[in-house]
């Protein structure tokens, strides 16, 4: 019996070799720097940053090389010191090209002048948001939503802050290990937000499969009655914003809405830590923890400079095992399969997961309407119907069925006995419907 509310749906995915039980026990090691980093100017949701450097410029570590371009956008900083080789489009994990700054490392690690905040206790929401923008902070849970927008003074009063340490994605242990090594800093970062927004209650949501992290956090929060460490049940996607908010506060985030509408701010532990460093050290976001798990010789949790190519991580892990068949940028449920290793690690990359042959997808067959996808959908959708509508290009029906609410968590595809790619269908529907809405808005504006 858990103290916390059970969110609807959810699954318990099985892992292959070197899954969470293995990676969770691996302390963070700082990865050797690569000789060259490729730093994409688009590492967040929104508009790509505008380049501030050009070929031949020498840059220092932490120097801003890309400036936020627009409201929803984030700054980008150099993760090494050295010389800009070029600014050119490179392929990213999603297979699309984006402008990247390629920097040759001089291994001097010369910092740009960093300026800690003078009066951290007095930071208000506006200052926090400005600082986050300056430091290139984005949500590190995977959504990479710019924090300059997320931390803006809200229209509604916030009363709850949730520090998201659930880390429900299989294989990944980056947040887990970060909590173990930087617990104090995470709590400090959270406190700054608590003060800035005048929040009464702070929950630290951690899945029960991380007892050491729960223990450590509980100890740290003992003195502060407003901080509650909440061990939540292990169920994917427990770490989804809406799911965690519901589990801890019983508030249902409105469809198409954000937790903020319900007075809740959800922040990933990694982001808390990044915020702490931005405040107390003046350090921008130039590195992150990445789990390399699955079918590699030596799984590990690395502290990686942004822009390091995937190959560098694999080399550090002594390469793939012979039965490796699929490499995933991120976790196996929501990540992206990649087949090239020159792709750089970005702010949103929480892991590199390599899956073995035996986990490979089987061919799809007809839907037998077993209803498993409906039982597991955390958003209470009917993925099989959305899938059927998508296959008939009937996006109107898909929209009526609520396709836009899909979290893309992958629970439906995971559970489908006919192995249909339901999640992918929902994603396609979302894309098409978004595009349609955009066009309609444009038409209306044209009028």
């Amino acid at each position: 019996m858990s103290l916390y509310t059970r969110f609807p749906g959810g699954i318990h995915p099985h892992e292959g070799m070197n899954g969470k039980p293995v990676t969770a026990a691996l302390p963070i090691e700082e990865l050797r720097q690569p000789a060259r980093v490729t730093i994409p100017l688009l590492q967040h949701i929104g508009a790509p940053a505008k380049a501030l450097v050009k070929k031949g410029d020498s840059v220092k570590m932490g120097q801003k090389i890309g400036e936020a371009a627009g409201f929803v956008s984030a700054a980008v900083h150099s993760s090494v010191s050295g010389v800009v080789v070029d600014v050119q489009p490179c392929v990213l994990a999603n297979g699309l090209q984006a402008e990247c700054a390629i920097i040759d490392n001089d291994f001097k690690d010369e910092w740009v002048k960093r300026q800690p905040v003078k009066d951290p206790e007095k930071l208000d929401a506006k200052a926090l948001s400005e600082l986050a923008g300056e430091m290139g902070l984005v949500g590190l849970g995977g959504a990479t939503f710019p924090y300059s927008v997320k931390l803006m003074p809200p229209r509604t009063k916030l009363d709850t802050l949730i520090v998201n340490g659930a880390e429900c994605e299989p294989y990944l242990s980056a947040d887990h290990q970060l909590m173990l090594s930087k617990a104090k800093e995470i709590v400090e970062g959270a406190k700054r937000m608590q003060v800035a927004f005048g929040i009464e209650k702070v929950y630290v949501g951690i899945e029960k499969n991380k007892p050491d992290a729960i223990e450590l956090m509980t100890k740290l929060c003992e003195g502060d009655p407003s901080f509650i460490v909440a061990p939540v049940p292990v169920r994917y996607p427990q770490g989804g914003e809406k799911q965690l908010v519901y589990a801890l506060t019983k508030r249902r985030v409105k469809t198409g809405g954000l937790p903020i509408d319900k007075g809740v701010l959800v922040v990933n532990v990694g982001s808390c830590y990044a915020l702490y460093r931005a405040i107390y050290e003046g350090t921008p976001l130039i590195d992150r923890v990445v789990t390399v798990g699955g079918c590699v010789k030596r799984p590990a949790n690395y502290l990686v400079r942004i822009g390091t190519p995937v190959q560098w991580l694999l080399d550090a892990s002594e390469g793939l095992l012979p039965q490796a068949r699929m490499m995933i940028y991120g976790g196996p449920m929501m990540g992206l399969a990649i087949n090239r290793t020159d792709i750089p690690v970005t702010k949103g990359c929480s892991g590199i997961t390599v899956l073995e042959k035996k986990l490979m997808p089987k061919p799809e067959s007809s839907c037998i309407r077993c209803g498993r996808c409906i039982t597991v959908c955390p958003m209470l959708l009917c993925p099989s119907d959305i899938d059927k509508a998508m296959r008939k290009s009937d996006f109107e029906t898909a929209e009526k069925l609520g396709a836009m609410n899909c979290l893309e968590c992958g629970a439906c595809s995971w559970s489908c006995p006919a192995k249909r790619s339901l999640t992918q269908s929902c994603k396609t529907c979302k894309k098409v419907i978004t595009e349609k809405r955009r066009q309609q808005r444009q038409r209306e504006e044209a009028k």
Partner: protein
């Protein structure tokens, strides 16, 4: 009272107009692609069928029989129904805008819906000497409800079939007819219920 209940059960399930009497097949096949329209059609038919049952009863009892014009029944009934549909349309337009918008488009199609004339005629032949006024009205209502049930269920099935990948030559009417046949199999379970 129980005889009325029997008429209702018979009309809706046992002698379902569409599924066992083959009346109203044209709208059944034609207006069953969307559940909403099917329901609208069903409601419009219900409205007209009850009225038609009552009025044809009155016409027959107070006009045709006294003047021994029974052989004119077909002509009289079809004219009455045609006029009735027109009148209903006009009255609805005047009285209730909302109802007119909901049912209006279906009304003109009802004139040639043989279920209405079929029920009107069967009111006169169902029992020796025909149903009385109340029985006729109830029979009209039951028949129409049965028609609506079959039509709406069929429309939902066809919506489902539209999402399937049927063999090419099953598209459209062949598939619809075979589906209707299987539906009729299910309705056969009520045979002899009364």
């Amino acid at each position: 009272m129980s005889s009325l209940l029997l008429i209702i059960i018979a009309g809706v399930l046992v002698n379902n107009l569409v599924m066992s009497q083959f009346l109203g097949i044209c709208p059944f096949l034609g207006i069953s692609k969307k559940t909403e329209t099917a329901f609208g059609m069903g409601m419009a038919v219900t409205f007209v069928m009850v009225l038609a049952s009552v009025i044809t009863y009155l016409i027959r009892t107070y006009l045709l029989v006294p003047f021994s014009l029974e052989y004119m029944q077909t002509i009289a009934f079809i004219l009455v129904i045609a006029v009735l549909v027109q009148t209903v349309e006009m009255v609805l337009k005047k009285v209730s805008r909302a109802l007119y918008q909901a049912l209006g488009v279906y009304l003109p199609l009802i004139t040639t819906n043989c279920a209405v004339l079929g029920v009107a005629i069967s009111n006169t032949t169902a029992v020796e000497g025909g149903y009385d006024l109340l029985q006729s009205a109830v029979n009209g209502l039951a028949g129409a409800l049965g028609f609506t049930l079959a039509l709406v269920a069929f429309a939902a099935i066809r919506e489902k079939l539209a999402m399937n990948d049927l063999p090419k030559w099953m598209d459209g009417f062949p598939g619809a007819l075979i589906a209707a046949g299987l539906m009729a199999v299910a309705f056969q379970g009520f045979a002899g219920l009364i």
